[in-house]
Symmetry: C2
Subunit: 133 residues, 2 copies
Protein backbone atom coordinates (compact mmCIF):
# COMPACT_ATOMS: atom_id res chain seq x y z
CA UNK A 1 0.00 0.00 0.00
CA UNK A 2 1.01 3.57 -0.72
CA UNK A 3 1.83 5.20 2.63
CA UNK A 4 1.35 8.80 3.69
CA UNK A 5 4.83 9.53 2.38
CA UNK A 6 3.71 8.85 -1.18
CA UNK A 7 0.35 10.49 -0.73
CA UNK A 8 1.89 13.61 0.76
CA UNK A 9 4.38 13.74 -2.11
CA UNK A 10 1.50 13.76 -4.55
CA UNK A 11 -0.38 16.47 -2.66
CA UNK A 12 2.80 18.50 -2.55
CA UNK A 13 3.38 18.22 -6.27
CA UNK A 14 -0.26 18.99 -7.07
CA UNK A 15 -0.06 22.04 -4.81
CA UNK A 16 3.05 23.23 -6.61
CA UNK A 17 1.41 22.61 -9.96
CA UNK A 18 -1.42 24.93 -9.03
CA UNK A 19 0.87 27.81 -8.11
CA UNK A 20 2.36 30.40 -10.44
CA UNK A 21 5.12 28.40 -12.09
CA UNK A 22 7.40 31.41 -12.48
CA UNK A 23 7.67 31.94 -8.74
CA UNK A 24 9.20 29.94 -5.95
CA UNK A 25 6.76 28.67 -3.35
CA UNK A 26 8.01 28.32 0.25
CA UNK A 27 7.38 24.96 1.88
CA UNK A 28 5.76 26.80 4.75
CA UNK A 29 2.94 27.92 2.47
CA UNK A 30 2.41 24.44 1.06
CA UNK A 31 2.32 22.76 4.45
CA UNK A 32 -0.12 25.37 5.72
CA UNK A 33 -2.45 24.90 2.76
CA UNK A 34 -2.24 21.12 2.98
CA UNK A 35 -2.39 20.93 6.76
CA UNK A 36 0.68 18.75 6.96
CA UNK A 37 3.61 19.21 9.34
CA UNK A 38 6.31 21.33 7.73
CA UNK A 39 9.10 19.26 9.24
CA UNK A 40 7.75 16.02 7.86
CA UNK A 41 7.22 17.66 4.49
CA UNK A 42 10.89 18.61 4.46
CA UNK A 43 11.90 14.96 4.48
CA UNK A 44 9.61 14.25 1.56
CA UNK A 45 10.43 17.30 -0.53
CA UNK A 46 14.14 16.64 -0.10
CA UNK A 47 13.72 13.41 -2.03
CA UNK A 48 11.81 15.15 -4.79
CA UNK A 49 14.70 17.61 -5.14
CA UNK A 50 17.25 14.82 -5.12
CA UNK A 51 15.43 13.08 -7.95
CA UNK A 52 15.31 16.30 -9.97
CA UNK A 53 11.55 16.57 -9.92
CA UNK A 54 11.56 20.07 -8.48
CA UNK A 55 14.09 22.79 -7.83
CA UNK A 56 14.77 24.51 -4.51
CA UNK A 57 15.99 28.07 -4.12
CA UNK A 58 17.56 29.07 -0.82
CA UNK A 59 17.36 32.30 1.03
CA UNK A 60 14.74 34.97 1.40
CA UNK A 61 12.20 34.86 -1.43
CA UNK A 62 13.17 31.25 -2.07
CA UNK A 63 11.09 28.10 -2.12
CA UNK A 64 10.37 25.32 -4.57
CA UNK A 65 9.34 25.25 -8.22
CA UNK A 66 8.46 22.62 -10.81
CA UNK A 67 11.08 22.02 -13.47
CA UNK A 68 8.99 20.41 -16.20
CA UNK A 69 5.51 21.03 -17.51
CA UNK A 70 2.87 19.20 -15.48
CA UNK A 71 2.16 16.70 -18.26
CA UNK A 72 5.75 15.49 -17.96
CA UNK A 73 5.38 14.25 -14.40
CA UNK A 74 4.06 10.69 -14.33
CA UNK A 75 2.47 9.82 -10.99
CA UNK A 76 4.59 6.67 -10.90
CA UNK A 77 7.78 8.68 -11.00
CA UNK A 78 6.65 10.88 -8.11
CA UNK A 79 5.73 7.88 -5.99
CA UNK A 80 8.97 6.06 -6.74
CA UNK A 81 10.99 9.18 -6.00
CA UNK A 82 9.90 9.08 -2.37
CA UNK A 83 10.55 5.37 -2.06
CA UNK A 84 7.15 3.85 -2.76
CA UNK A 85 7.38 0.49 -4.45
CA UNK A 86 5.12 -0.20 -7.41
CA UNK A 87 6.27 -3.82 -7.67
CA UNK A 88 3.90 -6.30 -6.02
CA UNK A 89 6.65 -8.58 -4.68
CA UNK A 90 10.21 -7.94 -3.54
CA UNK A 91 11.79 -10.28 -6.07
CA UNK A 92 10.71 -7.90 -8.85
CA UNK A 93 12.52 -4.90 -7.40
CA UNK A 94 15.45 -3.63 -9.49
CA UNK A 95 17.85 -4.25 -6.61
CA UNK A 96 16.61 -7.79 -5.95
CA UNK A 97 19.14 -10.58 -6.24
CA UNK A 98 18.16 -13.29 -8.74
CA UNK A 99 15.81 -15.87 -7.24
CA UNK A 100 16.86 -19.50 -7.64
CA UNK A 101 13.25 -20.64 -7.45
CA UNK A 102 12.21 -18.55 -10.45
CA UNK A 103 12.29 -21.42 -12.94
CA UNK A 104 9.88 -23.47 -10.83
CA UNK A 105 7.88 -20.60 -9.31
CA UNK A 106 4.21 -20.98 -10.22
CA UNK A 107 3.38 -17.38 -9.35
CA UNK A 108 6.12 -15.31 -10.96
CA UNK A 109 4.22 -14.88 -14.24
CA UNK A 110 1.24 -13.49 -12.37
CA UNK A 111 3.37 -11.04 -10.41
CA UNK A 112 5.15 -9.85 -13.54
CA UNK A 113 1.86 -9.29 -15.29
CA UNK A 114 0.56 -7.26 -12.37
CA UNK A 115 3.82 -5.36 -12.13
CA UNK A 116 3.44 -4.25 -15.74
CA UNK A 117 -0.20 -3.36 -15.14
CA UNK A 118 0.70 -1.14 -12.17
CA UNK A 119 3.61 0.46 -13.94
CA UNK A 120 1.56 1.26 -17.02
CA UNK A 121 -1.25 2.60 -14.87
CA UNK A 122 0.81 4.95 -12.72
CA UNK A 123 3.04 6.06 -15.56
CA UNK A 124 -0.02 6.71 -17.71
CA UNK A 125 -1.36 9.37 -15.36
CA UNK A 126 0.44 12.67 -14.97
CA UNK A 127 0.35 15.65 -12.67
CA UNK A 128 -1.56 17.48 -15.39
CA UNK A 129 -4.41 14.99 -15.05
CA UNK A 130 -4.59 15.45 -11.29
CA UNK A 131 -4.10 19.21 -11.10
CA UNK A 132 -6.48 20.25 -13.87
CA UNK A 133 -9.03 21.71 -11.46
Amino acid sequence: MISTRGRYALRLMIDLAMQDTDKYTPLKDISKRQGISEKYMEIIIKQLVKHKLIHGLRGKGGGYRLIRSTADYPVGEILEAVGEQLAPVSCLLPEAEPCDRESVCPTIAMWKKFDKLSHDFFYGITLADLAET
Copy 2:
Protein backbone atom coordinates in the same frame (compact mmCIF):
# COMPACT_ATOMS: atom_id res chain seq x y z
CA MET B 1 3.76 -4.94 -1.51
CA ILE B 2 2.71 -8.50 -0.84
CA SER B 3 4.85 -9.79 2.02
CA THR B 4 6.12 -13.30 2.64
CA ARG B 5 2.94 -14.02 4.59
CA GLY B 6 0.88 -13.68 1.43
CA ARG B 7 3.41 -15.41 -0.76
CA TYR B 8 3.71 -18.33 1.65
CA ALA B 9 -0.08 -18.60 1.80
CA LEU B 10 -0.17 -18.96 -1.97
CA ARG B 11 2.60 -21.58 -1.99
CA LEU B 12 0.77 -23.44 0.72
CA MET B 13 -2.51 -23.47 -1.19
CA ILE B 14 -0.79 -24.46 -4.43
CA ASP B 15 0.95 -27.28 -2.59
CA LEU B 16 -2.36 -28.49 -1.18
CA ALA B 17 -3.95 -28.23 -4.62
CA MET B 18 -1.35 -30.60 -6.02
CA GLN B 19 -1.97 -33.29 -3.40
CA ASP B 20 -4.61 -35.99 -3.46
CA THR B 21 -7.71 -34.01 -2.53
CA ASP B 22 -9.32 -36.95 -0.73
CA LYS B 23 -6.57 -37.14 1.88
CA TYR B 24 -5.44 -34.83 4.61
CA THR B 25 -1.93 -33.46 4.23
CA PRO B 26 0.05 -32.73 7.40
CA LEU B 27 1.59 -29.27 7.63
CA LYS B 28 4.92 -30.94 8.32
CA ASP B 29 4.96 -32.37 4.80
CA ILE B 30 4.06 -29.06 3.20
CA SER B 31 6.68 -27.10 5.09
CA LYS B 32 9.30 -29.70 4.22
CA ARG B 33 8.45 -29.58 0.53
CA GLN B 34 8.34 -25.79 0.49
CA GLY B 35 11.37 -25.28 2.70
CA ILE B 36 9.50 -22.96 5.03
CA SER B 37 9.53 -23.08 8.83
CA GLU B 38 6.66 -25.22 10.10
CA LYS B 39 6.00 -22.92 13.03
CA TYR B 40 5.66 -19.86 10.83
CA MET B 41 3.43 -21.81 8.46
CA GLU B 42 1.15 -22.60 11.40
CA ILE B 43 0.39 -18.93 11.87
CA ILE B 44 -0.48 -18.55 8.21
CA ILE B 45 -2.50 -21.72 7.81
CA LYS B 46 -4.51 -20.88 10.91
CA GLN B 47 -5.89 -17.84 9.10
CA LEU B 48 -6.77 -19.91 6.04
CA VAL B 49 -8.76 -22.26 8.26
CA LYS B 50 -10.45 -19.36 10.03
CA HIS B 51 -11.58 -17.96 6.68
CA LYS B 52 -12.95 -21.36 5.63
CA LEU B 53 -10.54 -21.80 2.74
CA ILE B 54 -9.29 -25.14 3.97
CA HIS B 55 -10.27 -27.67 6.58
CA GLY B 56 -8.05 -29.04 9.33
CA LEU B 57 -8.37 -32.48 10.88
CA ARG B 58 -6.73 -33.09 14.23
CA GLY B 59 -4.98 -36.14 15.53
CA LYS B 60 -2.93 -38.89 13.99
CA GLY B 61 -3.60 -39.18 10.25
CA GLY B 62 -4.88 -35.62 10.22
CA GLY B 63 -3.73 -32.57 8.32
CA TYR B 64 -5.29 -30.06 5.97
CA ARG B 65 -7.46 -30.35 2.88
CA LEU B 66 -9.04 -28.01 0.34
CA ILE B 67 -12.79 -27.54 0.66
CA ARG B 68 -13.66 -26.27 -2.83
CA SER B 69 -12.45 -27.16 -6.29
CA THR B 70 -9.27 -25.28 -7.22
CA ALA B 71 -11.08 -23.06 -9.74
CA ASP B 72 -13.16 -21.66 -6.88
CA TYR B 73 -10.22 -20.14 -5.04
CA PRO B 74 -9.48 -16.65 -6.36
CA VAL B 75 -5.91 -15.55 -5.58
CA GLY B 76 -7.31 -12.33 -4.16
CA GLU B 77 -9.33 -14.18 -1.56
CA ILE B 78 -6.29 -16.18 -0.44
CA LEU B 79 -4.18 -13.05 -0.09
CA GLU B 80 -6.87 -11.16 1.78
CA ALA B 81 -7.45 -14.10 4.10
CA VAL B 82 -3.95 -13.74 5.52
CA GLY B 83 -4.27 -9.98 5.88
CA GLU B 84 -2.73 -8.69 2.67
CA GLN B 85 -4.33 -5.48 1.47
CA LEU B 86 -5.23 -5.16 -2.19
CA ALA B 87 -6.33 -1.54 -1.80
CA PRO B 88 -3.66 0.99 -2.84
CA VAL B 89 -4.44 3.49 -0.05
CA SER B 90 -5.77 3.10 3.48
CA CYS B 91 -8.83 5.27 2.91
CA LEU B 92 -10.21 2.60 0.54
CA LEU B 93 -10.09 -0.19 3.11
CA PRO B 94 -13.50 -1.51 4.19
CA GLU B 95 -12.81 -0.54 7.81
CA ALA B 96 -11.68 3.00 6.93
CA GLU B 97 -13.62 5.84 8.45
CA PRO B 98 -15.07 8.28 5.91
CA CYS B 99 -12.54 10.89 4.79
CA ASP B 100 -13.68 14.50 5.02
CA ARG B 101 -11.30 15.49 2.25
CA GLU B 102 -12.86 13.09 -0.25
CA SER B 103 -14.97 15.73 -2.00
CA VAL B 104 -11.92 17.87 -2.73
CA CYS B 105 -9.34 15.08 -3.08
CA PRO B 106 -7.75 15.22 -6.54
CA THR B 107 -6.39 11.68 -6.31
CA ILE B 108 -9.29 9.60 -5.01
CA ALA B 109 -10.61 8.79 -8.50
CA MET B 110 -7.20 7.46 -9.51
CA TRP B 111 -6.91 5.27 -6.41
CA LYS B 112 -10.42 3.91 -6.89
CA LYS B 113 -9.67 3.05 -10.49
CA PHE B 114 -6.51 1.23 -9.48
CA ASP B 115 -8.31 -0.50 -6.64
CA LYS B 116 -10.81 -1.94 -9.08
CA LEU B 117 -8.00 -2.93 -11.44
CA SER B 118 -6.18 -4.82 -8.67
CA HIS B 119 -9.31 -6.45 -7.39
CA ASP B 120 -10.37 -7.61 -10.84
CA PHE B 121 -6.87 -8.89 -11.54
CA PHE B 122 -6.42 -10.94 -8.39
CA TYR B 123 -9.99 -12.22 -8.34
CA GLY B 124 -9.68 -13.16 -11.99
CA ILE B 125 -6.91 -15.67 -11.31
CA THR B 126 -7.62 -18.84 -9.38
CA LEU B 127 -5.66 -21.60 -7.76
CA ALA B 128 -6.49 -23.74 -10.78
CA ASP B 129 -4.52 -21.36 -13.00
CA LEU B 130 -1.48 -21.49 -10.73
CA ALA B 131 -1.48 -25.19 -9.91
CA GLU B 132 -2.11 -26.60 -13.37
CA THR B 133 1.44 -27.93 -13.73
